[in-house]
Point group: C2
Chain length 177, copies 2
């Protein structure tokens, strides 16, 4: 059975975490992780461009087969919700533009898959990511969340087959005059 | 003086309007307009892919020099705000990926530029777009809003020179391990 390479993304306008793992049968192998930061002194289009280009570069470098993105939640501050939404829209655009099927998971699903219950604290998720992937050091919080999302996809609550079928590749938009 | 071709975008998840005009000195000439619709029975990544591909197709077809996008507002429904944000993030991604400088305008700025005051009703904006561009028929509401945004950019409250300077072209994202 050939390895399946999964890219996990934890979207954010200031920092977007990414993590790449490989699934060999039941074994998970760490490939890479990190984060893409945008400069809050720049305009929104510039920041969106940085996120889009950064994720595109990760795809070009690590050539994943599938992707998994954390669902984001509405913030108490509506303006923050709008900014987070735009960052997530840029992340999804880069993934579909890169030809990747995209699966979406809630933070609850990710925690259940990685720690075993949905009420896990952030540092518990981080510690389990280190243990599950046999890492020598601890990744940053954003990179750990992205790796956790990739692990969740690899463990496939819905089964990997179903997720792969639900995945999407880009096709021409319908333009109506 | 050579013509400046401007793409206006009115972003939305269900319907994104687009409008292309040319500025020849002080004269504005209509080129094209329409809308990109996404199917609400599809997953969010599929809908984002449709919007991204649709705008990319408009750029490839009409080869604009600059773009202008309406700023969106937070909705009373936070979930709608999040969805609208993601649609706008996809639109901005497609524009910067297409190498276009992006200027942003509020609905107030667009109305002031097209109708002359910020309290104009939607049908007044539509009527002024028809008159300013000498159209034979009336475009749909979303296409009219996109054309109005392009007209606002052409009239350049801040001056076209300043806008062009503020514009942005895509460059590599900084990846931090």
């Amino acid at each position: 059975m050939s390895a399946l390479r999964i890219l996990g993304i934890d979207p954010g306008l200031r920092v977007t975490g990414f993590g790449v793992i490989e699934k060999h049968g039941s074994q998970l192998v760490y490939v890479a992780s990190g984060c893409i930061k945008s400069n809050d002194k720049q305009s929104l289009p510039e920041r969106i461009a940085t996120l889009f280009a950064g994720i595109s570069e990760v795809i070009a470098t690590y050539r994943p087969d599938q992707s998994a993105v954390e669902k984001v939640f509405v913030n108490v501050n509506p303006q923050s919700t709008l900014l987070l939404g735009q960052a997530r829209g840029a992340a999804l655009s880069a993934l579909v533009h890169g030809g990747l099927p995209v699966a979406e998971y809630t933070a609850l699903q990710v925690k259940q898959a990685v720690v075993g219950h949905g009420k896990a604290a952030k540092d518990q998720v981080q510690a389990m990511v280190v243990r599950l992937l046999g890492l020598a050091g601890s990744p940053t919080a954003d990179a750990a969340d992205a790796l956790a999302c990739a692990i969740c996809h690899a463990h496939g609550g819905q089964g990997l087959g179903a997720l792969a079928t639900a995945g999407y590749r880009i096709r021409g938009g319908r333009l109506i005059g």
